[in-house]
Each structure stands twice: as C-alpha cells, then as structure tokens.
C-alpha cells in the first residue's frame, strides 16, 4: 500500500464564497437557472497585470487558485505541478472554433488557440512560481483530478527527501456546453432552486457547475491539515462495487464505516446515480454524518477537488455546516473523512482522509 500524503494548504474558487472568506460557507449562494458559476475574485492580486489582459476567465481562476494555495502553504519551492481538467478552457476553445467557421479558417487569433490547450494553466503556474520541476496535466474526464492526486501520491511514495507538489483541478461551464449537455439529459428540466437539488433525486439530471481547487501536497506531516490515506478510482461503478471498495479501503486501514466521522457524498440529484449512495445512507451508524456537496458546486468532471477542499475545511473547523448534512451523526469530532463521488455512469472515486 502506498504511503499517505499530507495536505499543507488548500484553496478553492467555486460558486460559493470559498476563496475570500475566512470561515467555511459564511453565506450560501444558490441559483435558479440550473447553473452554478464560480464566484469571481480580484484576480489582479495573483496575476501580473501585463499577462492578465490576455487571459481567459478559466486561466485566471486556475492560476489564482494555485497561487493562493502556494501562498497559504508558505512553500518556498515546488517540486512539481500536477493538474487535472475534464474539459480545459471551454470558452477559448469555443471562441477559436467559432472563428474558424466565421472566418473560413483564415486570420485566426492565436491567443484563443494557445489558451484553449489543456496545459496552459500548468504552464502559467510554473512561470509564476518559477517551478522548473515536474509539470503534468491529466485530461481523463471524471477521473482527471483523481489521476493528478494519484500521480502525486506515487511521486511522493518514491521520494526520499521532503517534497512538495501543487496538485489541483479546474473545469468551467459555458452556455454552449450547457445547451449541448442538456440535449443528452445532463441537467434537470425544472428545478426551482439549486439548494433543492437533492430533494429532486427521483428525476433525471443535475445542475451544471464549475470550479477550481488546488492543494500543496507533501510527504511530511509537519504543519499539515490532513492526510490522504488512500484513493481508489472505479470504472462503470455500481452500488455494490462502490460499497465493496469502501469496505476494502477501510479494512486496509483497520477501520469500519462507524469509524468515519463524515462521509462526503457526490449525490447529484440525478435518479440514475442516486443508488450509488443508498448503501452509504443505509449502512452508516448514528456516529457518522453523511454530507453532500453538489448542490453547492454543481456537477462537473473534477468536483472531487471541491469535496477535498471542503474536507480540509471540515478538519480545520471541526463542524459540518447544516447545508451539507443529509444524515446527521453524533460524532463529537471530525478526524476521519471519506469522500465518495461519481461523474456520469463511467467514473467514481473513493478517498480516505485523516486529520493530522
């Protein structure tokens, strides 16, 4: 089994007030149009003003989140940057492709093309942090962030010296993307408010979301918030398969479900995927709190990043906000968190985290 890795800092830009607030979810932001967009911040605090003018919104979101995580960690040097994105810079890609049609493939702006590549955020982060080490971007749909985390775990498992990696994820939603996906049943046809998403789990579809989350991850526990003990990625998950893997992870760490203080579930309000979480709701004891998060960030490929950021905050604050709770446990402290998430019918993941 791989050694645990440790999170020394975390930052997230999400549809909630996750970036600038000092406390977890001081106010809850909702939407009534089926989409949750990132709450912007002052990007000029994190990005060179000469560079920022040419950047798309997604670049600004990703770079600012990554830089903030590095600033919070106090790390002077990064050994590498590893990022996952399911879709990359959608808006720039749409602009570039739109121009190709409109201008008959002539006189195309280079900027849209350059920025629409998946690894542009990683490149900018490397330049901003002067990191000349390992630089990798994973584009694996619903497992993009998990692949980044796994890569960091493997690198740190082999490292003999203390090392720090910046690991993160980002995905954006555009109006065109929302329209295309609505045609294949991704989104709910009628939902009064995003906060009511989980009360409509008997119908098909979810709400569109986006966000970025970055973490500084090390192989030393000193000054860390928590550890990532184990991560599993599941293809074509079924409820039984998810449960089997939860049991196997817990058993490998000498634990049972009753030892978990909070299970963070990626319930998306979609009736097709709700059965994945039924065993968790049924099998958890009175000790464990079952919480959900997609009514706050929406559904997107790398939402596990938002869940992991939430977990770091739960460890730090030692309480679970009511807006997250699906089944309230009597746990007095939050020491162990299990994240169970899915993206469409193709991918699911289970992450075991422990407070340092």
């Amino acid at each position: 089994m791989m050694k645990p890795v440790y999170i020394s800092a975390a930052a997230a830009l999400s549809p909630q007030n996750s970036f600038d607030a000092d406390t977890l979810l001081p106010d809850v932001i909702s939407s009534d149009n089926g989409k949750l967009f990132v709450k912007d911040t002052d990007y000029s605090k994190f990005i060179n003003p000469v560079a920022i003018r040419r950047m798309s919104r997604m670049l600004k979101i990703g770079i600012s989140t990554g830089i903030k995580a590095v600033q919070l960690s106090g790390a002077e040097k990064l050994d590498g940057i590893i990022t996952g994105t399911g879709r990359g810079s959608m808006r720039d890609m749409e602009l570039f492709l739109g121009d190709m049609i409109r201008l008959k493939e002539e006189a195309l702006n280079p900027t849209y093309f350059i920025q629409s590549t998946y690894n542009s955020v990683n490149g900018w982060l490397a330049m901003q942090t002067k990191c000349t080490g390992y630089n990798q971007t994973y584009v694996h749909r619903g497992h993009s962030f998990e692949m980044s985390l796994l890569d960091a775990k493997m690198l740190l498992h082999d490292a003999t010296e203390p090392q720090t990696y910046l690991v993160g994820c980002l995905d954006e939603m555009t109006d065109d993307y929302f329209i295309v996906k609505s045609k294949i049943g991704y989104w709910k046809k009628a939902l009064p408010n995003s906060l009511q998403l989980l009360q409509h789990s008997n119908t098909q579809g979810s709400i569109g979301g986006e966000g970025a989350a970055f973490f500084t991850i090390t192989n030393t526990s000193a000054n860390s918030i928590c550890s990532v003990e184990q991560l599993k990625m599941l293809q074509k998950p079924t409820a039984a398969f998810v449960q089997e893997n939860i049991d196997s992870i817990l058993s490998a760490h000498g634990m049972k479900l009753k030892d978990i203080d909070v299970v963070l579930c990626g319930m998306s309000g979609d009736a097709r995927f709700q059965p994945l979480y039924t065993p968790i709701l049924e099998n958890t004891t009175a000790h464990t709190t079952v919480a959900a998060f997609k009514h706050l960030c929406g559904e997107y490929d790398t939402s596990t990043g938002f869940a992991m950021w939430l977990a770091t905050k739960l460890f730090q604050e030692q309480s679970t906000p009511e807006v997250l709770i699906q089944k309230k446990g009597i746990n007095p402290a939050i020491n162990n968190i299990l994240i169970v998430n899915h993206y469409t019918l193709n991918s699911a993941s289970v992450v075991l985290m422990k407070k340092s």
Binding site: V50, R53, R54, L103, E106, A107, L108, N109, P110, T111, I114
Partner: protein, 85 residues
C-alpha cells in the same frame, strides 16, 4: 492619415485587450514593443491577424513585419500603401 491612426489605435486596444487605455495614451511614434507599449511576441501575432482581417494585408517576410509593427505611425503608413480592403 490621422483618421486611420485613430482607428488603428482603437483596433489595437480592442484586439490586445489593453484595459484602461484610450487612443490618446498611445503615441503615434512610440515603439509598440519593448520600452514603449510593452507588447510581446504573441501580441505581434495578434497584430498580424488584425492587419489581415481588417485591411487584407498579409506580411510573409518576418523582417518586413518587424519594421511595419514598429509603431502606430509605421503601421498606418504601410496600411495606406498596401491595403486591399
């Protein structure tokens, strides 16, 4: 020529997203790259696209391109002589 320079400055500001700048902030003869407006190599590609899209001008020779993109004045002079649109 003065009208062309003004239009060109507006197009440069829009195309390069020079936030907070107005045509009055760009000197006709100041260098666009380096110490002047501080543009970079990607901006030069954007300016080439601007010339092609708005004036039908395609510059194939990099050396010639460097001369044309020296300043707003040099761009305007080249446009006046070579425009196809």
């Amino acid at each position: 020529m003065e009208d062309l320079k003004l239009t060109l400055k507006q197009q440069i500001i829009e195309s390069l997203n020079l936030q907070g700048m107005t045509p009055a902030d760009i000197d006709d003869n100041a260098p666009l790259f380096g110490d002047g407006l501080g543009l970079d190599s990607i901006d030069s590609l954007e300016l080439m696209v601007l010339l092609e899209r708005n004036y039908g001008i395609k510059i194939e020779d990099a050396r010639e391109g460097r001369k044309v993109l020296e300043s707003v004045a040099s761009m305007a002079a080249y446009i006046e002589q070579n425009r196809k649109i």
